[in-house]
């Protein structure tokens, strides 16, 4: 069995090698670069060390977000005081993109007036849709722009933001 497996391996390697030859080296490089831009150090850092992870003891509103692509979920607790997002916590599970996006989001919005947060949500969503207009305003979040080259993963990046948007709606009416 072992031998026969080796033989298969061998024979097919030789056929397939010819195909492999035709592999596009330049394109390979381009893809590596796109992956580098997706998995930037800052993103991996937030993924490994998520900020504001956990829950709030008395949130103004809580909201659950769900990504139909993968079934991953994020849960946000927000505390709103005098029109300002005074505290926030996030939990749930997901990929590096969704987790780091959530983590970075919590960092930038804490302490911000709701109106500004809403602007940020709009800017971030616009960026993920392809706009480069508000890149400066987004600061570190600009790192997320790399996701745009990975269309199926855009939902990962926006998950936390959509959830935030709904949490704020809830907070308003509560």
């Amino acid at each position: 069995m072992c031998l026969s497996t080796r033989l298969v391996t061998w024979a097919i390697v030789s056929t397939d090698d010819r195909r492999r030859m035709s592999s596009d080296k330049a394109e390979y490089k381009r893809q590596e670069t796109e992956l580098d831009e997706l998995y930037q150090e800052i993103i991996l850092d937030h993924y490994r060390n998520p900020r504001h992870k956990g829950r709030l003891s008395a949130p103004t509103a809580s909201e659950e977000g769900y990504n139909p692509l993968c079934g991953d979920e994020i849960i946000l607790d927000v505390e709103v005081t005098d029109g300002v997002v005074s505290d926030i916590a996030q939990r749930g599970s997901g990929c590096s993109i969704s987790q780091s996006s959530a983590s970075m989001m919590t960092e930038v919005i804490v302490g911000e007036p709701i109106a500004d947060v809403k602007g940020l949500i709009a800017s971030f969503t616009a960026m993920m849709r392809g706009s480069d207009d508000d890149l400066e305003e987004l600061g570190d979040l600009e790192a997320m722009a790399g996701v745009r080259k990975f269309p199926v993963r855009v939902k990962c990046a926006t998950l936390a933001w959509h959830t935030l948007s709904q949490a704020l709606e809830k907070a308003k009416s509560s």
Partner: protein, 417 residues
């Protein structure tokens, strides 16, 4: 031309030439398609059968007196015979064409289930069922007040049958619905033995063969199951065709499921009498062209020989398992024993989400699946939310496994490096 010689169970180099999509580049790289448990690729023989049907014989079947209708009917019914022989059914009458495995199972849960299961009865499934063989029974149980009994798994993701199937059975057990081969961790279940035990307890047995009929010899009379379901699209055939095999007496007794054209014998304002089997279960215009093309897929697999298909997948799965195990800190799921492990490998990198794994290897041309694989109950029992999964078929090679392993190296570099 050493490469076109048969080495190992299949002449893979020759097979590959039959699959036009394998010439395709993905991000500049040759496609390595390891998502076969989701759906297989199609050989030109199947694609040509489709084209040929539409270009020469397309017509609605049954009840047509004209020549095209006669030809189309003969081709469609001819494939019913082919399918019947392929799984050694006692008669083509036992073969119902549906859209997919899911519909086949729903047909049983609705038509047989609603007529035969009532409050207090029991339905046995396993925790490793695909949602398509889990949710219909869960719904049936909820609607009828029956009890859903779920067989768990052991450490190695084989069924926990230490106390025998009988420990899950009671006098009220009506049906045992069980997968032949799991689509995520690859476990092959001893359905023949389980069927015998279930029958002794007076229960019927439904086998979800979506991952077995495409990959190994399956003989419904040898298994002695009552129902068996699978999908054409996972076995070189077109999308849109499923098969339900059922024992003749069961089909004859069961009320119909979908009603309408073709499945009736007589309709009056007040009542309807049903057509004979299997027509009774095929309401409306069937997916004629795809059934016809499915015939070409069955011919293709029959020519290869299902035992050879299984051997080839064993070889490649063993090789892939050996190489994967060399990777650092990877977790591999499923049974160690290759004899009860289909051509499917699931794994995880600790701290890396399977979708990140999928994205990285995709950019090197390798298509794998990431996620729960419609196996959420099993995932929950493993306390994970998903896996990365590579699944193989007749055209896959060990060289492709090498490409895949190289691509995985990039995952380690990015996340752990």
């Amino acid at each position: 031309m050493t490469t076109s010689e048969r080495i190992g169970a299949l002449d893979v180099a020759r097979i590959r030439r039959d699959f036009p999509i394998l010439d395709r580049k993905v991000y500049g790289q040759p496609l390595v398609y390891f998502d076969n448990a989701a759906t297989s690729q199609k050989p030109r023989q199947v694609i040509e059968a489709l084209t040929h049907y539409y270009e020469t014989s397309n017509a609605n079947i049954h009840r047509a007196v004209h020549l095209l209708g006669e030809e189309a009917t003969a081709e469609y019914e001819g494939v019913r015979e082919k399918v019947s022989r392929f799984i050694n059914a006692p008669s083509p009458e036992c073969i119902v064409f549906t859209r997919n495995t899911s519909e086949s199972i729903n047909l049983v849960a609705y038509a047989w289930g609603r007529a035969n299961v009532s409050a207090g009865d029991e339905i046995v499934v396993t925790v490793m069922e695909h949602h398509s063989n889990f949710v219909p029974w869960q719904q049936l149980a909820q609607e009828t007040g029956a009890k859903l009994v779920v067989i768990g798994v052991k450490e190695d993701q084989t069924l926990d049958l230490d106390d025998g199937l009988s420990s899950y059975l009671s006098e009220r057990t009506k049906i045992v619905a069980i997968t032949h081969a799991n689509n995520t961790v690859g476990t092959i279940n001893p359905v023949k033995e389980l069927a015998a035990e279930a029958h002794r307890a007076g229960a019927l047995v439904l086998v979800d063969a979506a991952q077995s009929v495409p990959h190994m010899p399956v003989d419904v009379q040898d298994l002695d199951c009552d129902f068996l379901a699978f999908s054409a699209h996972k076995m070189l055939g077109p999308t849109g065709v499923g098969v339900l095999y059922a024992r003749r007496e069961l089909l004859a007794e069961m009320p119909p499921f979908l009603t309408g054209g073709e499945m009736i014998s007589k309709v009056t304002i007040d009542e309807t009498t049903w057509n004979g089997i299997p027509a009774k279960f095929e309401a409306g215009t069937p997916n004629i062209a795809d059934v016809v093309a499915f015939g070409a897929a069955i011919d293709y697999l029959s020519d290869l020989g299902m035992q050879n298909v299984r051997e080839h997948e064993k070889e490649i799965t063993e090789y892939a398992l050996r190489r994967l195990k060399q990777l650092e800190s990877i977790t591999i799921y499923g049974p160690e024993d290759i004899d009860v492990h289909g051509g499917v490998i699931s794994f995880n990198y600790p701290g890396v989400h399977p979708h990140d794994v999928g994205t990285i290897v995709d950019r090197q041309g390798v298509a794998i699946r990431s996620g729960h694989g419609c196996n959420q109950p099993l995932m929950r029992s493993l306390d994970i939310s998903g896996v990365a999964r590579a699944s193989f078929y007749v055209y896959n090679t060990a060289a492709e496994v090498d490409v895949f392993i190289d691509a995985l190296g990039d995952v380690g570099d990015r996340f752990n490096g």
